[in-house]
Amino acid sequence: MAAQEAEAAVPLKLHGAAMSACTARVLTCLHEKGLDFEFVPVDLFSGEHKLPPFLSISPFGLIPVLQDGDLTLFESRAITAYIAEKYKDTGSDLLLTRHEAGPAAAAAAVKVWTEVESQHFNPAIAPIVYQYFVASMQGGSPDQAAIDGHAEKLGKVLDVYEARLEKSKYLAGDSYSLADLHHVPYTYYLMKTPVAASVVGGRPRVKAWWEDISGRPAFLKVAQGMEFVAKEK
């Protein structure tokens, strides 16, 4: 009891930037679990993430970083996996360990689809978001050839998702899990681009799945901070 109280006294600390998709991934997970935490903004514009004090907690200069007492973690998907495991008995059942029929199989499916997001989905979607939100800043135009190439790849990945979602409501089964959560931040940005209509809009089950997972209260809290402003003039 005393140990639990001592643990509760030291809050989780998350270092990151609100517009970073990777930070948003962890924020969403924390909110799905209903956890209290301290958010420490990292000043990207002064290059804080590339300089020694920050590098001592994140050697590659990456955000987000989670501090839980003496434990320091970076890599957003490692952080979400840690939170989901540590708090598996509270909040949303993100690892499907409380699944009534066959928890081991359900948990394994979560692992498969979190790998799919990381290895197949992310490499296709990240460059598109980059082109629209970052590369086209300051008067440049997005590289349409790069966008088209990656949109085609993303389409092929989402064909697999469309078929999967005919068999189950969510990627790892009939309940929302970490596998679905990991997709949310980048897709949120993609949906603000011209590519969204064909890539997501043209796939009815993917579209329905997106509307569901992006409408969850935990993510709506996070979306408020996600302003990656494209050129306004």
């Binding site: 590339k50 990456l62 300051q138 402003v229």
Partner: protein
């Protein structure tokens, strides 16, 4: 916390007057307050011409490669985007050639437009600060004797130190 990383910032509002584009803004203020503080535009039409020349050089030649370095070295990976290693190498090479031109110029005059600190030098401060700090390429400045001395001079001005404390 709201962040506006890129987009049309900075913007100023001077009464009812609105202006964007940082180089337009600094020219506006330099002109408007010509009679106070440092004379950033030179004293004669010829000096003004040189200030404008080197402001163009900064904008057309210095800025594009250093901006690419900033985007890819400082921001890409931290925001979860792939950094373009080829572009980084090419940008460093281009920037090096620009700095060679500066080295030649600064061996003949203390500042870019002449022997007076001007808007042309000032406009180099922010991105060069990134270059020697978080981008980790201070050697590009230090390996060029006159550029190095010029950088130490302009970056130690009280006005720049105030900005760094913000």
């Amino acid at each position: 916390c709201r962040a506006q990383p890129f987009g049309s910032v900075p913007v100023i509002q001077d009464g009812d007057y609105t202006l964007y584009e940082s180089r337009a803004i600094i020219r506006y203020y330099s002109e408007k307050y010509k009679s106070q503080g440092t004379d950033l535009l030179g004293k004669t039409i010829e000096e003004r011409g040189l200030v404008e020349q080197w402001l163009e050089v900064e904008s057309q030649n210095f800025h594009p490669p250093i901006y690419n370095l900033t985007l890819h070295v400082m921001f890409a990976s931290v925001l979860g985007f792939p950094a373009d290693e080829l572009l980084i190498r090419e940008s460093e090479e281009k920037l090096g050639k620009v700095l060679d031109v500066y080295e030649e110029r600064l061996s003949k005059s203390k500042y870019l437009a002449g022997d007076f600190f001007s808007l042309a030098d000032l406009s180099h401060l922010p991105f060069t600060q990134y270059l020697v700090g978080p981008i980790g390429k201070e050697y590009m400045i230090r390996s060029r004797k006159h550029v190095s001395a010029w950088w130490d001079d302009i970056s130690s001005r009280p006005s720049w130190k105030k900005v760094l404390q913000l």
